[in-house]
């Protein structure tokens, strides 16, 4: 009996003690709002202006039309609100008094920095995000042309009613086109501090849908296969107005320039993160026609680096796999007779493209966004030597050789296309065969 009593007393004491620990950290799900996107602009009355986009908990709110009234900032199942403050995290506290729920950053998916802001240097503002426990290291980082506030306002979920899914899938598209890099915050932060290279971020903008010129009807449209377009200038209409296109080059924490969407593709190939993408070429044999190929990396690029007379010599070897998607002329480039020539043409193109891109980063920006430094580091024995040499300062002196090997592996469903027969165009094709 005594023993039982003792045990019960002890258990009661334990329970009370445990009760005292009382859920200091327990917060119910619906007591918080979850920020999906954070935008940082230069402030007017204070240092920074922070824009939050957070999901609302209304059933079927607004849905597809993304309407909502202007003043409350409702955007398709989310609310966008902006606040000016001295620091990013204090802005959250200020927001709390207006949102009437705890604003949480633990599900933030995207950090948008405005271009002005990025050019001045972002390090000091990014710092709290790495220390603060809530912030998701996996959020994507984007530099946007114009104001981040406007960009986030246009961040609508139009396909479904799920804003977070829309955001995540938006960045997944980097895999499908290679037009912009998918940079997560953790990597960006590591790249800020690294002696091996320089960081990049995706470049974004807001499209006002005015790029789609009406033009005059009788004029023949020009064929442009490699038009460099800045984000916000894509000739399109419909859908959400925000778009991501190209990338931003940083030197340290300061933005120094941008790469266009094609240069971004070459950059992604260079670092081995290019997944797939269509390339359009003008057919040399019939300049008014084109052919389209889909490019994949055959294997991870191999980089070698050695020092020759204090000058780093870097070799970048790439292997590309190519699927022919379309040949408008219906010529048989995939045939054994033609394929070598076809491949060498492509090889020259890609080699040149990558070389040009590297040259641009070397000469214009002097920013090793390719992280060749990690191989160069192999030539140094100690960290002191590496840091004394200061690779990222010497990037522009490096001699970089690029070699690309191209394999046209497949030709889609068709092999040896039969020409389109009409009364006129018989002869030409036959002669070619």
């Amino acid at each position: 009996m005594g023993k039982l009593k003792k045990i019960t007393t002890l258990m009661a004491i334990c329970l009370i003690c445990l009760g005292l620990t009382g859920c200091y950290d327990a917060i119910e799900i619906d007591e918080e709002v979850y920020t999906l996107a954070i935008g940082v602009d230069k402030g007017v009355n204070n240092v920074i202006r922070v824009t939050f986009q957070y999901a609302t908990y209304k059933e079927d709110s607004g849905g597809g039309m993304g309407g909502g009234d202007e003043e409350s900032g409702e955007v398709s199942g989310t609310i966008v609100s902006t606040v000016e403050a001295a620091s990013l995290l204090e802005a959250i506290n200020i927001m709390n008094s207006a949102v009437n729920r705890q604003v949480s950053l633990m599900h933030a998916k995207m950090l948008v920095l405005s271009e002005d802001f990025a050019r001045e240097g972002v390090g000091k503002y990014i710092e709290p995000l790495t220390r603060f426990r809530e912030v998701r290291e996996l959020m994507r980082i984007v530099v946007c042309k114009g104001k981040a506030q406007d960009f986030i306002k246009e961040n609508k979920a139009l396909i479904g009613s799920n804003p977070s899914k829309a955001l995540e899938l938006m960045f997944e598209q980097s895999k499908n086109s290679g037009y912009f890099p998918d940079v997560i915050f953790a990597d960006f932060y590591v790249d800020l501090l690294t002696p091996y290279g320089q960081p990049v971020a995706a470049y974004a903008g807001v499209n006002d849908f005015k790029q789609l010129d009406e033009g005059s009807e009788n004029e023949e449209p020009p064929l442009k296969t490699e038009a460099d377009i800045e984000p916000g200038d894509i000739p399109r209409t419909g859908g959400a107005k925000r778009e991501i296109f190209g990338l931003v080059v940083f030197d340290g924490d300061r933005m120094v320039g941008t790469l266009s969407q094609y240069e971004t593709r070459f950059f992604l190939m260079g670092i081995g993160e290019f997944q797939r993408g269509f390339f359009t070429f003008i057919d040399e044999n019939e300049p008014e026609l084109i052919y389209v190929i889909e490019v994949q990396l055959g294997r991870k690029p191999s980089i070698s680096a050695r020092m020759e007379n204090e000058v780093p010599v870097i070799g970048l070897k790439l292997k590309l796999d190519i699927d022919i998607i379309s040949i408008q002329s219906r010529r048989h480039y995939e045939n054994l007779d033609n394929i070598d020539e076809f491949e060498s043409k492509l090889q020259a193109y890609f080699e040149q493209g990558i070389k040009d891109t590297i040259k641009k980063t070397q000469e214009e920006y002097n920013a090793d966004i390719f992280h060749f430094g990690k191989k160069v580091a192999g030539n140094f024995k100690t960290i002191q030597e590496l840091e004394d040499y200061n690779w990222i300062g010497h990037y522009q002196e490096a001699e970089i050789n690029v070699s690309v090997s191209v394999d046209a592996r497949r030709s889609g469903f068709i092999y040896g296309a039969t020409p389109i027969r009409s009364t006129e165009s018989k002869k030409g094709v036959e002669a070619d065969q």
């Binding site: 334990c14 003690c17 200091y24 426990r133 953790a186 501090l193 690294t194 580091a377 100690t382 960290i383």
Partner: protein
Amino acid sequence: MIKEGHFGFMEAFSVMAIVLVTKIFYGSPMALIKYLGTAAWYGTLISLVGALVFFTLLYLLMKRFPQEDLFQIFETVTGKIIGKALILTFGVFLIYKAGINLREFTAVLKVYSMPFTPPSMIMLPFLIVVAVMAYVGLEGIVRVAHIFFYLVFGALVLIILLAIPSYDFNYLQPILGYGLGKTVQTGLIRVAAYDEIVLLAIIIRSLQGLQVFKKIGYLTLILGGLTFSVCLICILAAFQYTVGGEHLSGMYQLSRAIYFTRFFQRIESIFLFVWVISSVITVSFIFYISLNAYSRVFNISNHRPLILPFIFLTFMAAFIPNNFAEIMEIHLRVLREFSSVIFIFIPVMVLGLALLRGKKGVETSGKA
């Protein structure tokens, strides 16, 4: 003196492995990467070699006295008074170690997971579990350790595997870190990171003989060393030496970096289980040994009445550091660098003394 029961190879192996490896979950990788940069991963292997040498010496000592455990050897070799003083030193240092380990755990847990819970409220339930573990005794602790051994190491392997996409092993260059001299020097100082192996000599009588002792010792040291090394390689490859030297808990950050699909990300909280469990086992084990030391010194036949006061002492020890800086820069350095003075120097000295005086234990033929 105290009935400790007997247990098998796997139990002792598990508890020693967990005690050795728990450090990897806290600031240990950070400190190593800060000191050694890209050389951290083999710096710890140098420590391992040092630890293996030490363990060989320890084994020689134990071999001379096959029927006795380390504390008894202290008394036999140095005499009752000095021997007891040495045991007491061990006991006091172990309590300190348990306290600081607890505090380190609390500090990191508070930063990463429970920012608003007061530290004492984190420690209290922890200490209750430690007290219960100590109440049940060594046999209970090692069995729990054995069960969770698979979980702890499974989770470690899982984290390392899942984070594969973020590795780039080029970041292990330059290969020599801050210079070979510094690496070797720091590596040798940090032999202390492996010196918990000495605890195995204290529980030797619960093991099945000297050969098992030897096997467990070498295996746990090698397992611990490899685990450290692999984890450091992964942290370096994922975060480079710059950021790796910044993170409070490198392994935790590694688990934060896991991103497989939209559905499978930020699983670091699962990692919390492993982290807590291995810490509880470590602190309980150290705590129990210190209880043991105290009861040996004062010939107390039952350790149970000592639990509450010792829990209180641990609690006090945990509150010695004022802030995180003190934990990292004073106490953890004491534990991971200078603890060798007690854990390594004393046994080696005792071995020397035993050799000098030519003392030997009773040889018995019937060893199990």
